[in-house]
């Protein structure tokens, strides 16, 4: 039987761990415990709850208002890993600078980033948004339409990204993609990037923006980018959406082609 004094001696360790990793505990609580509880309590999925909130609190046809409602819900009520307002600003700036005509989004989730990007696009540009999950896709569709973007501006493709990318050229008539935004499964970053390279959709100067490369993190992706030499790359340091204190980053790659 371990004596209580020895157990007490472990107290500083516990306190240290709690203090040091407090943000992770908060994240765990908000993203997992609350979600499970709400799922059981309401019978709706998280995205549906978010959509309900947006529907009641936002002005239809106004993308900014919709984004604001989302931010409100994610920071106050529950947690959804959207790109968030801070990193969203970086995204906006890059889009403004690039003004791409063809944009590919991998991982629409519930349409937040699609709306965010669509409102920054130049006239006549087109956004292809890929979402794997059917339920999420329907919500994303609703959100996008609610924000007032029609089929010509934003096209939602419901399919896994690794199936869509090889078909983009044949089925959707894309020649090159000017801007790619990755925010789906972190494990798929690397294979999808390689698929994009292989399909020849990337032209010189095409930009790829990958979210959450530090947390949860895509180490293989970063390692590949560093080594391949095909890209000019940098990492925008930021914090995780809606939670301060967890460091995260977005990787910005500019395709240089084979020299």
């Amino acid at each position: 039987m371990v004596s209580p004094a020895i157990a007490l001696a472990f107290l500083p360790l516990v306190v240290t761990l709690i203090i040091r990793y407090r943000y992770y505990f908060v994240l765990f609580y908000r993203a997992f415990l609350v979600r499970v509880w709400q799922d059981c309590a309401t019978g709706l999925s998280r995205e549906e709850r978010a959509f309900q909130y947006v529907l009641t609190n936002a002005t239809p046809g106004d993308p900014d208002s919709i984004l604001e409602a989302f931010d409100q819900w994610c920071s106050k009520v529950e947690f959804i890993s959207n790109i968030g307002p801070k990193k969203g600003k970086i995204l906006d700036r890059l889009l403004m600078e690039q003004s791409p005509m063809t944009v590919l989004e991998l991982g629409a989730h519930c349409g937040y980033s699609a709306v965010r990007m669509a409102r920054c696009l130049p006239l006549g540009a087109r956004l292809y948004s890929v979402e794997m999950d059917q339920r999420n896709a329907t919500i994303a569709e609703k959100v996008i339409r609610l924000a007032g973007f029609d089929d010509d501006t934003v096209e939602l493709i419901v399919s896994p990204s690794d199936e869509v990318i090889p078909r983009l050229r044949s089925d959707y008539g894309l020649e090159t993609v000017d801007f790619v935004f990755m925010d789906h499964w972190k494990k798929c970053y690397l294979p999808d990037l390689q698929l994009l390279e292989g399909s020849g959709l990337l032209g010189k100067g095409s930009m790829i923006l990958a979210d959450n490369v530090l947390f949860p993190g895509a180490p293989n992706f970063l390692r590949y980018v560093r080594k391949s030499g095909l890209y000019e790359w940098r990492i925008h340091q930021a914090t995780l959406e809606y939670i301060r204190g967890i460091r995260d980053g977005m990787a910005e790659l500019v395709y240089q082609g084979i020299k």
């Binding site: 039987m1 371990v2 004596s3 004094a5 020895i6 007490l8 001696a9 472990f10 107290l11 500083p12 360790l13 306190v15 240290t16 203090i19 040091r20 990793y21 992770y24 972190k186 530090l214 947390f215 949860p216 993190g217 895509a218 180490p219």
Partner: protein, 974 residues
């Protein structure tokens, strides 16, 4: 040939004239001398010698300048010795041939253009030396050895010629002439030389003059190789120059010397090379002999100086412990083991009957009970016999003196190291030109190993990071009130934590006393080892908590480290002193027990004797086995055991933490990262950083425990040496394999003395209880070297009385008289005060001097700036003059003048350049001259009329020296 024709700088001419003048002087002197002595004989010889001297000198001077023509001309103009001129001419032509060849071979024509002042000076020196040599030679020859030398010369040449197996008839003829009648007519010599000119130039077929020249060139190359490192050339150039010079040396070195001499010479050269190689290897060997040097360097390159400072500290500690170990082992343990009474001969050296069954159990031994307790490892085993063995070794005295000596030695070493460190850090001002220093002086040119170079690169990069971070920190300012509040809060939290840990230890110690009263066997292992466990755990986890709390404070990393150190220090100190207080209680308990045992003992003895023998009989005493004799508790051994256990548990905790906290974590992070949903390496658990402060303090407190317990357990230094040795390897390995460099790298330059200061405090604090126990508590009556005495230090008095002559003890008693001791102490205090005040005044003087130097430096800068402005104006004028001169194009004296001005300007502008760049007081002339506007024709071209196309100069000898020689005075003018 009129001099005015030449477009040369005045300097050339000046030098040439000087040189010529020198030569003439020398030769004329010589001539007079010679003629005074013997006119007839000396004539041809003189001529030849003169010629040789000339040629040699010229070789040397031209080596730098390449203007032999000019010299020649000057000579001719002055004296008009046609004959000799022709000789020279021929010689020169030959020389030029040779030079060209060599030049082609080495291909360093362009490279030698850029050269340095030092080379220039060297050359000048060489010239001087040459002339001196020439003088000496002449004198020698004058005196006696004319004939012989001549013969030798001839013989040598003959040998040389013979070595050339395939030669023309003509050559043979010449050989004959030269060997047989060297001192004949000069026509002969001339002819011979002409012939030699035709010959292909191989080292074997060179005349003595050429050999001389070649030798000089070789020397030149050697010097170049030696000084190459200090030259401000690009690395590429250095490398190529080095390679070329080495090739040249290899090619021509062996050619020097003749016949037998050559072999000797070659041998000599080989031996020199071998010797140098040996020296270098020996240096390497010496560095390799510094223990763990390479490991520490490697760590330093990866983790920065702060982590390395920990390892250096560890190594230093290891050294001290080695000496402590040597003292205790050599003077206490070994004599007792060899010469003392063997095990089992006395009660104190025997395991008691009750414990005998379990005395060899591992659990008992691990707790240092059983046989381990009754061995030389602990105080109680030692006998109070005054002298042991045939050496009459004074064991108790030795024991006492070693105990005192270890402490005294530790004090001495720590204080000496502190003083030395203080000296080192006091010197430079680190604030100015920080980055320049780093930029230009960081690289270690001794590195030959690519891996080491990588490491050095990494370490320089780290040091840059450190410096930049420091700069940033020094410029930051935040909300001061918030920061203050947070700092107070942090300190409050830390205080709470300290109080909590103190209370916990106090509680545990009290509980353990209760357990001890109950009897330890009734409790579990956990409860028996509670004190040690709790202390180790608190010592491990509280620093982590402090670390987390200290992020609140937002200090500069180095200051944060010191705070952290201070806090951990307080924690450890509190723990240690609680422990000591508990020990004191236990000692008191033991002493009470001892009283009882003593009383029982007399009763037992009485009963023993009473029961067996009738009273007042003289029958032999009953023999009882020593294991059966009742004995006292021996508190000294108990204290020693406690300390040994503490050390062991501390060591185990350290190692286990290392293995679990660092290694296991690293393994998990590394390999689970393949199949985990977030990035383990960059994110949540990550790899651990090396905790400098915790480790240093662990080390220091460990040492404190050693100092405290070494008196009662002589095995402690040995244990500590073992521990340090293992932890050196283990930690080196762990750091390199499982830790990542700190995110906030910083250098630990200032903290070395901080460690030392802490060590000193700990030393003091740890000797305090030890001395207290030695002085106040009487030793146990039946164990240890001081048993039977009322105090431990009585052994000194005893020795004084019985081992020293009577007068000595008298003197000692007088000396220890308070009337003498007090004035002595007073004197010492006064001396300390005096020394301190003088050192303070010296320090002030130093600061003053430094200020003065700085002022002067600034003044110089201003001056040079002014001079540069003036020089710029001069430059304009000079340009105008130049254009004019170019128009006139004839032999007016304006153009050299203008050029001189130009040269001056150039040099001054360079000077300015350097003044801006760094703080080198001596202006270095670099290769920029060619790019500066003023230098339209920096190198006065020699005229090659009738000779060969390229300007001739010996390979390895830069040809630009004249300009530099000229420049030196002009620089000094500024």
């Amino acid at each position: 040939m009129p001099r005015g024709n030449l477009i040369t700088s005045e300097s050339d001419i000046a030098i040439t004239v000087d040189n010529a003048g020198d030569e003439d002087e020398v030769s004329s002197c010589y001539e007079e001398h010679e003629w005074g002595k013997n006119r007839v004989k000396g004539r041809e010889k003189e001529r030849e010698k003169k010629k040789r001297g000339n040629a040699r000198k010229k070789g040397a001077s031209r080596a730098g300048r390449g203007d032999e023509e000019l010299e020649e001309r000057a000579e001719r103009g002055e004296k008009g010795r046609r004959r000799r001129k022709r000789d020279n001419h021929d010689g020169k032509g030959r020389e030029r041939d040779e030079e060209e060849q060599a030049e082609e071979k080495s291909g360093r024509a362009a490279k030698n253009k850029k050269n340095l002042k030092n080379e220039r000076t060297r050359k000048m020196e060489q010239e001087e030396r040459d002339t001196e040599e020439g003088d000496a030679k002449r004198k020698k020859k004058n005196e006696s050895a004319k004939r012989e030398e001549k013969k030798e010369d001839g013989g040598k040449r003959a040998v040389k010629e013979k070595a050339n197996a395939v030669k023309t008839k003509k050559h043979k003829k010449k050989v004959e002439t030269s060997s047989e009648q060297e001192s004949s007519e000069e026509e002969d010599v001339e002819e011979e030389e002409e012939e030699e000119k035709e010959k292909e130039l191989r080292p074997e077929s060179l005349s003595p003059e050429e050999l001389e020249k070649l030798k000089e060139a070789v020397d030149e190359k050697k010097k170049l190789i030696q000084t190459l490192r200090g030259k401000p050339w690009p690395m590429k150039k250095k490398l190529s120059t080095l390679r070329e010079s080495q090739e040249f040396l290899e090619k021509y070195e062996g050619a020097l010397g003749k016949g037998k001499g050559r072999r000797l010479y070659a041998y000599k050269v080989m031996m020199t090379k071998k010797w140098m190689k040996f020296q270098r290897d020996f240096e390497n060997f010496k560095t390799a002999c510094i223990p763990w040097e390479m490991k520490i360097k490697e760590i330093e390159s990866h983790f920065g100086s702060s982590v390395a400072s920990y390892f250096i500290f560890l190594r230093w500690m290891y050294g001290i412990n080695m000496i402590l170990f040597g003292l205790t082992f050599g003077l206490v343990m070994v004599p007792e083991a060899l010469m003392g009474r063997p095990y089992g001969s006395m009660p104190r050296k025997t395991v008691p009957r009750a414990d005998e069954a379990s005395a060899m159990d591992f659990a008992v031994l691990w707790d240092f009970g059983g046989y381990a307790q009754y061995s030389v490892l602990f105080y109680g085993y030692y006998n109070n016999q005054r002298a042991i063995g045939w050496l009459k070794f004074r064991m108790p005295l030795s024991y006492f003196l070693v105990g005192v000596g270890t402490v005294a030695y530790s004090y001495m070493v720590v204080i000496r190291t502190m003083a030395r460190n203080a000296n080192e850090s006091g010197g430079g001002d680190d604030n100015s030109f920080n980055f320049s220093w780093k930029m230009f002086t960081s690289w270690d040119y001794l590195i030959g190993n690519p891996e080491t170079a990588d490491n050095k690169f990494a370490s320089i990069t780290t040091s840059f990071k450190e410096a930049i971070l420091e700069e940033q920190e020094s410029r930051k300012d935040d909300n001061i009130h918030l920061t203050r509040f947070l700092r107070v809060l942090a300190n409050f939290l830390v205080m709470c934590c300290l109080a909590g840990s103190g209370y916990l230890i106090y509680f545990v110690v009290r509980r353990s006393q209760k357990f001890a009263l109950d009897g330890l066997d009734n409790h579990s292992w956990w409860e028996r080892n509670e004190v040690n466990m709790v202390m180790s755990l608190l010592g491990m986890f509280c620093p982590m908590l402090f670390d987390v709390i200290s992020t609140l404070e937002n200090y500069h990393p180095r200051i944060a480290l010191q705070w952290q150190l201070g806090r951990i220090f307080a924690l450890f100190l509190g723990n240690l002193y609680t422990f000591i207080i508990a020990l004191m209680d236990e000692i008191n308990l033991k002493r009470k027990e001892e009283e009882i045992v003593k009383f029982n003992m007399t009763v037992w003895e009485a009963s023993l004797y009473n029961g067996t023998v009738p009273e007042n009989s003289t029958a032999p005493p009953v023999t009882i086995h020593p294991a059966d004799v009742p004995r006292g508790p021996c508190w000294e051994t108990m204290v020693g055991q406690e300390f040994v256990r503490l050390i062991i548990s501390d060591t185990m905790t350290t190692y286990i933490t290392l293995l679990i906290g660092d290694f296991l974590r690293a393994v998990l992070v590394r390999f689970l990262n393949y199949c985990w949903c977030w990035d383990l390496e960059a994110g949540f658990p990550s790899y651990s950083e090396f905790d400098v402060s915790g480790n240093v303090l662990g080390l220091i407190f460990n040492q404190g425990m050693i100092w405290m317990g070494a008196f009662y357990a002589p095995c402690l230094p040995a244990l500590n040496v073992l521990r340090l040795h293992v932890s050196m390897y283990l930690q080196c390995w762990a750091v390199m394999c499982c830790n990542v460099p700190q995110e906030r790298v910083f250098k630990a330059s200032g903290s070395n003395n901080f460690y030392m200061a802490m060590l000193l405090v700990i030393l003091f604090l740890s000797t305090l209880p030890a001395i207290y126990t030695i002085v106040t508590i009487p030793p146990s009556f039946d164990c240890g070297p001081f048993s039977g005495k009322s105090r431990m230090f009585d052994v000194i008095q005893e020795t004084l009385e019985s081992d020293f002559p009577a007068w000595f003890s008298k003197v000692f008693s007088y000396a220890s008289n308070p009337g003498l001791v007090l004035p002595f102490l007073l004197l010492m205090v006064l001396a300390i005060y005096y020394l301190q005040s003088t050192s303070k005044s010296f320090k002030e003087a130093n600061v003053e001097l430094k200020k003065k130097l700085q002022m002067q430096n600034e003044e110089n800068k201003k001056k040079s700036k002014r001079a540069a402005l003036k020089a710029a104006m001069d430059l304009e004028e000079a340009r105008k003059a130049m254009t004019q001169a170019a128009e006139q194009q004839s032999n007016n004296n304006a153009s050299p003048q203008a050029q001189k001005d130009g040269g001056e300007n150039r040099s001054s502008s360079q000077r300015l350049h350097h003044g801006k760049n760094g703080r080198n007081a001596t202006p270095l002339l670099t290769d920029q001259e060619g790019q500066l506007p003023a230098t339209r024709a920096p190198v006065p071209r020699t005229y090659h009329h009738g000779n060969h196309g390229a300007p001739g100069y010996l390979p390895g000898i830069p040809r630009q020296t004249e300009a530099r020689v000229h420049r030196a005075p002009s620089l000094q003018r500024h």
